[in-house]
Symmetry: D2
């Protein structure tokens, strides 16, 4: 199977290159990048020297249709909305890593992304690729909207308790912490080493575009519509994302009982690992891998559940989950090409 990547010169794009090179069923055929079109990918990313040496091409739907079977869009918000439909029309499998097709309600996109939304019919067609939750819908699909990094960690942490009145859905607070790669390869002052290093800050309070995405999925799973509080923080590290999620328990479950429930809930999900009682994961423990590791704590004094979930934002939060979705679409083993041991230390 042949693959193309649109937005190959960004961080998610270049990670897709790493993962697809490792995938036994995929041949990496086309690398597309508007701003650096005509350049060699290895001149921009010298770590690829001798591994993949390809010229970055301009987007051309006919050319793509002629040369590849699947297209990954690793583009900034507002781009795939226009380009992806051209590929869909030509019968290509499309996996979008941007936020353009995640929100079913176009007004939500307009409100939170401050851009024009995609057409409703396309939003309806896109399958939300949170692999562990939507596996059945993903099988055989041709159009996947890959989840955001924060929603992936938050929702995998929450999913097992969203039903059956386990928690008070109005009490959910997600406190997210992300490495800097989450904001992409963008020459902005806020991403400079000297601004980020040796510092932690909170940003976009009440305004983060992943908020409606998390809420939409909570509502889909629970069957109930609620707003959450979601805060994001920038951490002086390159990769890694941790969500600390709080919710009031409706019943007096112990940590141990909930851990058992989580183990069972994810027993067929090879990329979710539940941590033993009294331990919680570090982002470093999933670095470079597609894992989502989860630890729990019930505070008996406040009857509140704390969920700690970690991912590598560039892998499970972007490129890795995209490849996982392709594996599911094609009926391949979900771990094909993704069986990386995390890099430690």
């Amino acid at each position: 199977m042949k693959a193309g990547i649109v937005g190959a010169n960004g961080y998610s794009g270049v990670e897709l290159i790493r993962l697809l090179l490792n995938h036994p069923q995929i041949k990496l055929e086309m690398l597309i990048a508007h701003s650096t079109q005509g350049m060699e990918i290895q001149s921009i990313y010298p770590h690829l020297n001798g591994i993949v040496e390809k010229t970055l091409e301009e987007f051309d739907a006919d050319e793509l249709a002629a040369r590849v079977d699947v297209v990954f869009f690793a583009t900034p918000a507002g781009v795939s909305k226009d380009l992806l439909p051209e590929c869909l029309k030509r019968g290509l499998i499309c996996i979008d890593l941007s936020g353009d097709f995640r929100l079913k309600n176009p007004q939500d996109y307009a409100d939170w992304y401050h851009k024009d939304p995609a057409e409703q019919v396309l939003l309806n067609d896109a399958v939300y690729g949170l692999a562990e939750i939507n596996r059945q819908q993903i099988e055989g699909a041709t159009f996947i909207s890959n989840p955001g990094c924060y929603p992936t960690a938050a929702l995998l942490g929450l999913a097992p308790v969203l039903k059956n009145d386990v928690i008070d859905l109005q009490s959910i607070i997600v406190d997210g912490k992300s490495g800097v790669s989450g904001s992409g390869k963008k020459a902005a002052l806020g991403n400079l080493f000297c601004e980020v290093n040796e510092s932690v800050l909170a940003y976009k309070l009440g305004q983060h575009q992943h908020t409606p995405e998390i809420e939409q999925m909570i509502s889909e799973i629970s069957g109930e519509k609620n707003a959450i509080t979601f805060t994001t923080h920038l951490i002086p590290m390159t990769r890694g994302l941790l969500c600390t999620t709080y919710a009031n328990l409706k019943k007096g479950f112990s940590t141990r009982e909930l851990l058992e429930h989580y183990e069972k809930f994810y027993e067929k999900s090879p990329f979710v690992r539940i941590r033993p009682l009294g331990t919680w994961p570090a982002t470093k423990e999933v670095l470079g891998s597609n894992f989502c590791d989860i630890g729990l704590n019930v505070d008996g004094r406040t009857r509140r559940l704390t969920i700690v979930s970690v991912i590598d934002n560039v892998v499970k939060g972007a490129a890795g989950q995209a490849v996982q979705n392709l594996n599911i679409i094609k009926g391949w083993d979900e771990q094909t090409g993704l069986a990386f041991t995390p890099i430690y230390p």
Copy 2:
């Protein structure tokens, strides 16, 4: 006025040295350190070469009484409990930076520190040195228990809304993020560069010893006893501490109204700075200084207040607040010796 530091070879101790050297009313007279007694402080901390060159001495209450007027205890938990009363007896002003005298109920100390508590009478005598809140009690006091780093940031963030039914006190969640210096100069695996760097993790869920300290003070201010949920995270940076604190609003205040309230609440507190609407502080913006910067956000959708408060944990969270307390005790300008501009970048 002459000062001595017990535990001068730890990170809080060495920061006290920096601050006291800059203080016009203080002469640094004795540096005491048990494990490195007899060594020169500048051989352990070469940054002090040519600035302060002193031999580390063994603790001796009589010697202290003969040579100094004020003693700072920058010792690990369980040490000042035994040493400090000897200095108090001899009429010295004592400022304890450890947790030994913070909890009024000795059982709380036993439960959370897993050590034998100090005597009740001493716990009663110790004035909790959260300077902005307890100024009146601190004036003229001789025995200060300096707050912990997390409690300082959390409580300064919460104090203005703890009264008058502004928030639901049962809904308080404090999500803390701290740099590694918070765990002191201790050769433990968990503090190694390779373990901490490029990672974020949650630790001590439901077990952090600062929990009862925060709760005790919330209860003192609000007049109501409640448990909070408190989670701590280790951030790959040396200095800096940020608390993101969540609480449900009982009334429909706007962010702007609360910001005005905070400005007023802290108008006589030179070290607390309130951030303008729509902005929140980074820990780097207080680095090396005694400031606590606070930003707010009210999410109208969930009627929840988010408070972001940052400090340099080694300054306002330890040595700086200790010096501030001494200034208040002595009736000196609160900023004496502490008017550092944060180091940026």
Copy 3:
């Protein structure tokens, strides 16, 4: 005395603000910044909230002449060349932190900076402000060209052995390592956190513009003209600069003998600290201060001298040395306003 800063919104500019605020003889009067003119400095740098709140102004030589006595130029290469002469004409003391007036030979500037040089007569007038070496020339001067960061560390390390045939001048190699703040506050891809973090790289081999500056001063001190090899490396830290300098000894000096010689050479230089035998400095040990710490090693097997010198590039390598130069110009104690203890840890 009143001071103005041109380029106040860069990293050297904002550090000048910190240092001048701490200086008892200086009132900070004008902050000038072309690109952010009209903005409040504290809105760009929130760490200055409540400390200095001033509007950034446009450069105007007459205005400066009316309001200040001394002007610091913390501008990128190619700017002060045109602006500074206007201030000189109006009788202001001018201290230039850029490279525009460092090289006496205008062709060198053209060759290494790839820009048009300043006029020869101005280059002749500028006093090279390497304070420890040129003190006499600096006293009473009105026009200082402040040294580059690498030259400061390299030359302070080399100066004591440049005369009397101690080393083979043709054998000098300077291997420099710098934190990222050295490249200023510039939204370039190469300065992004994700590009710099967890990496070290060599850059500008054979092309660094500080090369002719180091050579010019070596030649001035030694009386002999030679080329050196100079390599620079980018280190994943914000502040700090270390030069490891190599030279072949002409005579069989021991490390101990040379250390004594260095101690003597710098005995009247309060900002240079010589490390004891068998120890070498870390950049962290001078962080936030104006110190240059130096350690030595003679390898008896190769008869080669290795000099390790460290500075905080933003202080001694820029703003601090500029203030030190002003102190010398005015005959104030060299340490006035600069007696900072390094921040540790």
Copy 4:
């Protein structure tokens, strides 16, 4: 083929686990660790949860002989010297990652490691596993002494110019920069995050134990015995090692000519990549991979060659090269199990 790892709980050991799990010809059979014997490897290294779950065993040569074919020793200096001969005797392939068998002259080991050396006969038998240089000797060998991290980078950088009078062998200076993982998982003060972060320092000047190893190999390749100057620096990053190596050219080669020579020299070495003219590698560009990337610069003004070589110290500088050596021993493709794309960013 079955493998055992002695010292499986250190950083090189745990990296061997990652690499061997990825190796199609190897089954990881025994994990041995003295200090943590009896514990589960995944409880110490939670990143291995669900990937490899094994109990750490005590060293027992008979047990090893019964269960494995090859043993990797990832032990501190002074350990394999005693244990490895027991495995050799029992016919196992032994690959030692420590320094115990690298120096052919036992007195060198005594002088630089300050420990008792291995027996001369064993030192004679050990094949120095610098794969790119000693391939022929490694083929079919049973006892490999794997090079140190600094020697690997320095020697791969130097090897192409050590013959034919290209450089003056007496002029060689190696300026090494290493991440903190190079000093292993050791709870020492010098490895603490707060001591290392935001700092760079030089250490062990004239005393680093890799000095005689580099000299021995230079002498073996060049046929001439010379001392070098070797300085090491600690960089605030976890993985990565860069050597900047200086040497005087005897003939007037251009950078371009030397680059061609290097290309040719390493044309059959898939893990060595030569950088194009005017570019030099960053350690990040080999992170997680077995590559050694090399860039060159000839300074025409000083007729001096500067070589910049980078590796991931835990891979090519330790575990990766060990696996590469096993591949060569067994006649497998050198890249088997090692075809990792570097992780970027």
